[in-house]
């Protein structure tokens, strides 16, 4: 009995020792970023047509994670670029990602359906790198990561809700990629605080296997969901019914903490927009002021929609137009190109028909840029 007890204690000590050693080695090596580059997508399963995002994995066969390497490795853009491809990267928020839209109905899907060609005869292939978060910092983060995939052109739909400086760092995807964001802040002298307390900087303990279990599980589930993505083509749960975007509005003139009459340019992250343009370098960038729902309901004389009071949005459009003119980069303002009935559950989410209308305008502008 006593011998048994000693053997058990010895065995438990060995197991505990092995556990500690493995975790310590894992924390020191930190293999999670490298692991992110390992992917079954584009090899066993087809690459995704938009970045992984989902809060209902069981029905969407998709999930949200913070590992940019894993996210991009699962995307079709990670596949080698064919010689006859003119690669267009589309970044932006949920409207670009295609909320409640099948892949063929997203902006990228609609643009691809046009089978456009570049002046040198290469076929345009548009990659949807939108991500359902409204923040220019997030867009810049994505663009910075995406530049390794050799784009020939970048299309960047933006909207006022992505601009407030105060919210640039308030999203988990940004907070959990602190080193990359700090690098952007440093390289482009951005006004954001590199020591923002919301940044997630894992301690040694949090870098162990136990501490990284969420990241590891997310990576694993992303690979497993590849099978369902390949088998069904589903990457989003689109409900039969949803609550439509608000048309009757409050007579509230606030935009975040901003009040009329004047929108302060300093409160908007034009520095991040410029950083994005700088990241692109010589690659042409088309900035698009994306369509918004223009309500005709109650208090629509005060507000365009749930997001925007008229005074703020009108000033923003003027500022953006001026800013883009100064930058010398192509700019397309299509804020009113989609009629009110073609919006779904939000003032920036469009129906398939609305998406086609937007694609028509952008395709026309791309053709103009080619000339």
């Amino acid at each position: 009995m006593i011998r048994d007890r000693r053997t058990v204690i010895g065995m438990l000590l060995r197991v505990a020792g092995l556990f500690v050693a493995l975790n310590a080695a894992f924390a020191l090596v930190n293999p999670v970023p490298a692991l992110g580059n390992l992917s079954l997508y584009n090899v066993v399963f087809p690459g995704r047509l938009r970045l992984p995002y989902g809060d209902d994995p069981a029905r969407a066969y998709n999930l949200s994670l913070f590992d940019l390497n894993a996210m991009f490795a699962s995307h079709a853009v990670a596949w080698a670029k064919p010689a006859d491809e003119y690669r267009v990267l589309l970044i932006g928020d949920s409207s670009t990602w295609g909320w409640f839209l099948d892949n063929e109905d997203t902006l990228a899907g609609r643009l691809n359906a046009k089978q456009m060609r570049a002046p040198d005869g290469r076929k345009l292939r548009v990659y949807n790198l939108g991500y359902p978060i409204m923040s220019l910092m997030k867009d810049a983060l994505m663009l910075d990561h995406a530049m390794q995939y050799q784009p020939d052109m970048i299309v960047w739909p933006v909207t006022l809700e992505s601009f407030p400086s105060a919210k640039q760092l308030s999203h988990p995807i940004v907070q959990n990629n602190a080193p990359a964001i700090r690098s952007l802040i440093a390289r482009y002298s951005l006004r954001a605080d590199p020591n923002d307390p919301t940044f997630v900087d894992p301690t040694l303990l949090q870098r162990t296997i136990a501490g990284q279990r969420r990241a590891l599980a997310d990576w694993f589930r992303l690979q497993v969901f590849g099978a369902l993505w390949g088998a069904t083509g589903v990457d989003q749960y689109i409900p039969e019914e949803y609550e439509p975007a608000q048309r009757d509005l409050e007579a509230d003139e606030h935009f975040h903490a901003m009040k009329p009459p004047a929108l302060n340019e300093g409160d908007l992250a034009f520095d991040v927009l410029d950083a994005g343009l700088a990241i692109a370098g010589d690659v042409p960038v088309l900035v698009v002021n994306e369509p918004i729902l223009i309500s005709a309901g109650q208090n629509s004389d005060v507000r365009y929609n749930f997001f925007y009071p008229r005074w703020a949005y009108d000033q923003y459009r003027r500022m953006l137009t001026d800013h883009m003119a100064q930058s010398g980069r192509p700019f397309l303002d299509v804020w009113d190109v989609v009629p009110e009935r073609e919006f779904t559950n939000s003032a920036v989410h469009v129906t398939p028909k609305g998406s086609a209308m937007l694609a028509d305008s952008i395709a026309l502008e791309i053709q103009r840029m080619f000339q």
């Binding site: 009995m1 048994d4 053997t7 058990v8 994995p57 029905r59 694993f220 589930r221 497993v224 969901f225 099978a227 369902l228 390949g230 088998a231 069904t232 083509g233 589903v234």
Partner: protein, 469 residues
């Protein structure tokens, strides 16, 4: 003056440890019946279903022989059960603890006391019922089968739900078969029926109330088996017990393997396994096969994982539950598959249905082929119905029944005509591999019926699998 051989000290110690272990298993198992029962939309049903499990077990123990006059130990065990039940009911009055064992607040103690009285009266009536013992056994078996039918047949379960809802003054219109989730009852009912049949055949050893209750609701095997036999289980309970490293190591190994199968393999495969939703969405061809194979492996790892955990936990207490799986997907034919898949269920069905039926048919001078056909088809039908009384489970049972019959006829045919000489080992190996592949795919295709709720959807998946339409 007795001539008993005095016990050695280690043996006495082992017997006393066995006694302690048995007491612990008895109490923990009774508590586990309440602990594992999930919440239900019907008020207090999460208390009454486990209560009914214990009540029915007590009545069956009495009906299967019990003992008379009742010994002091039996009365003490009955008092322990009643005490546990009343203690759980009493938690109702201690607010922070009221749902610590049951999922919701238990019923009031007066109602529970009355229900205990009813169960005691029924158990006594079962001990002293008028008529011969075989009739008593038949009545109890029929009642248990009727209860299983009610729980497995959706319209009846829904009606039962409506009745229970009416009793609780809840909305009858919202009644659903999903309201009544009696966790583990399929296994419990088969253990009870098996015990009654064994008693009728004179094979059931006399068991104390404590032994019988522990056997029926043994906590490691409560949720998903295996379905042990009372005579085998009671031998382990009565054997001397001393904690030993070998058993503990083996138990821990099985638990670790089981946890890996269940929580890593099965739960990962569950993400992509064929189900009602993705069956409609899946593209035809290879992708549909991928989902089907994922389901095929998932159901095995899930079930085998649970079994490993049950066997491992039981092993810690010196109980060697029977194996339930022996590499079923690596068997070269369907007969061997069913000898290694859910073994305890197939053995149960063989002992209490297949063998008696075959004997009965033989006595009626039915041809051997007809006996094989009828017994295999109906046996698999019973196994299908045990999972649920739905068209798809019936088809699944028939699928395997026909498969077993065809294999039986084929092997009979091959044995006499295509015997492979021993020197052609490679050919034998190739035949074996081909057999494994065919059997695996036959079983996998059978799972289509099992995994999906409607025949139409199952047929749609078959079309997608074979690119038809």
């Amino acid at each position: 003056m007795t001539n008993e051989i005095p016990l050695s000290t280690p043996r006495r110690l082992a017997l006393s440890q066995a006694h302690l272990r048995n007491s612990a298993l008895f109490i923990v198992s009774v508590l586990a019946v309440f602990l594992v029962q999930p919440a239900t939309p019907i008020r207090q049903l999460d208390f009454w279903l486990p209560f009914a499990t214990l009540g029915i077990t007590l009545i069956v123990w009495a009906g299967a022989g019990g003992e008379w006059p009742l010994k002091r130990g039996t009365l003490a065990d009955a008092a322990v059960i009643a005490g546990i039940v009343l203690m759980i009911a009493a938690l109702r009055y201690i607010d922070p603890l009221s749902a610590i064992i049951t999922r919701s607040r238990p019923p009031d103690i007066l109602t529970v006391s009355l229900a205990l009285g009813v169960v005691a009266a029924l158990a006594l009536a079962s001990l002293h019922s008028i008529g011969p013992k075989p009739a008593r056994t038949v009545i109890l078996v029929v009642l248990l089968i009727a209860l299983l039918v009610i729980l497995k047949w959706e319209p009846l379960t829904r009606n039962l739900s409506a009745g229970l809802r009416a009793l609780q003054s809840q909305s009858v219109a919202s009644a659903s078969a999903f309201d009544i989730r009696w966790l583990g009852f399929s296994y419990i009912a088969f253990r009870l029926i098996g015990s009654l049949r064994d008693r009728a055949a004179g094979k059931l050893p006399a068991m104390t109330l404590r032994e019988f209750i522990t056997f029926v609701v043994f906590f490691p095997a409560l949720i998903s088996g295996p379905i042990d036999r009372a005579d085998r289980f009671v031998k382990d309970l009565r054997a001397p017990f001393a904690f030993n490293l070998a058993d503990a190591t083996e138990g821990a190994r099985r638990i670790a393997i089981g946890a890996f199968k269940k929580f890593v393999l099965a739960d990962s495969l569950a993400l992509i396994a064929l189900n009602e939703v993705n069956a409609r969405q899946v593209f035809p061809g290879g992708w549909a096969w991928l989902l089907l194979y994922a389901f095929t492996l998932r159901i095995f790892f899930d079930f085998a994982g649970y079994t490993d955990i049950a066997l491992g936990v039981a092993r810690f207490f010196g109980i060697k539950l029977p194996e339930n799986f022996r590499n079923p997907y690596l068997k070269p034919n369907l007969t061997q598959f069913w000898n290694s898949w859910h073994i305890s269920l197939t053995q149960w069905i063989r002992a209490y249905y297949f063998n008696p039926l075959t004997r009965a048919l033989r006595q009626r001078n039915v041809s051997m082929v007809a006996i094989i056909f009828v017994s295999q088809i109906t046996t698999m039908l019973v196994i299908g119905l045990w999972h649920g009384i739905t068209p798809n489970f019936v088809i699944w049972g028939l699928w395997h029944g026909v498969g077993l019959f065809v294999h039986n006829r084929w092997s009979d045919f091959v044995k006499s005509r295509l015997a492979i000489p021993p020197e052609r080992a490679n050919l034998q190996r190739a035949m074996n591999i081909a057999g494994i592949v065919i059997t695996f795919n036959f079983v996998a295709l059978g799972w289509v019926w099992f995994a999906l709720p409607t025949t139409t959807l199952a047929l749609t998946v078959f079309q997608k699998l074979f690119g038809i339409g």
